[in-house]
Amino acid sequence: MEDDAGRDEHVNADEEQDMDVQQAAVIIEQARVKAQHELRTAHPAIYVTWAIVYLVGYGAIWLSVRGQHPYHAPAAGAILGVFLLAAVALAVTATVVSRATSGVGGTSDVRRRITYLVLAIGYLGVLALEGALGQAGASQRVLGVYGAAAPILLIGLVFAASAAAGTDWTAFCLGTWLIAVGALSGFAGPAGVWGVLALAVGTGFFALAAITMRRIRS
């Protein structure tokens, strides 16, 4: 759609009016708050929805596998539930980010697209490696640990790397937390790993939502 940047009009007298220093200070603060609010991509709603995906979705999977002796696989309904919750979280993320970044171009836009691409390629890599492990004779227990923890490790790595590039240290901390949780949760075994991840990842995203909310209000 054509913008109106070529159109000439006379400048409204109100917009050229003089202002005193207090008025200037108020304008700076109001413009800064409005711009940060409108252009913010790190929104608490995004983090809360992802916290629910892990807390409820992974929690449901843990409930479906915790009584399995020997371990075989999560219930299909629980896995479907995770995918449905993830679809909702993706929709919320896409809506908030596209609204905030509408009309914004340049370095951040390129960096964001690369991050999404790396996440998608990385997730395909995680799935491919899981297939390779299965073909190489890995047991259901090993595949269970890998299938639960490897995506978290990937998300943590991408989150930490992209946050560090934008010097967002809170998001960087969540990324490193996800890396640690992804790497260590496997010690809880193929059933316990889902419970550990539900609590640790869900809590991490809730914490990030709370910190972001506090930043917005301060």
Binding site: D4, Q17, V104, G106, T107
Partner: protein, 105 residues
């Protein structure tokens, strides 16, 4: 210290809002003319007039791409604009301290 020390190109409500809005973006980012118009709440004519003044001073850069109905103008803060806004806010802070919190404007 007087208000005369404030950069006259920046010291106008609309242009101050424009520069502060653009300064919230990370370096290397830009805003489309229409999004900027939404954020600032100016008519297209007023917005382009203020942007041209800022452009003439070297504080913003306007890049037009496409033509006809597909024309899009991207506006970004230049390094000089970022420095000028920093200098303006520093001067403003000193003036406010000189006036004192209890003094009327």
């Amino acid at each position: 210290m007087t208000e005369d020390e404030l950069d006259p190109v920046i010291h106008a409500p609309a242009r101050l809002r424009l520069l502060v809005t653009l300064a919230t973006l990370p370096e290397g980012d830009n805003l489309s003319f229409t999004r900027l118009q939404d954020l600032i709440g100016l008519t297209p004519g007023n917005l382009i007039t203020h942007l041209r003044k800022l452009d003439d001073a070297g504080y913003v850069r306007m890049d037009k791409s496409g033509s006809g109905v597909n024309a899009v103008t991207a506006v970004s803060l230049t390094p000089d604009g970022r420095v000028a806004l920093g200098r303006y806010t520093a001067t403003l802070r000193r003036l406010l301290e000189a006036v004192g919190p209890d003094q009327p404007g």
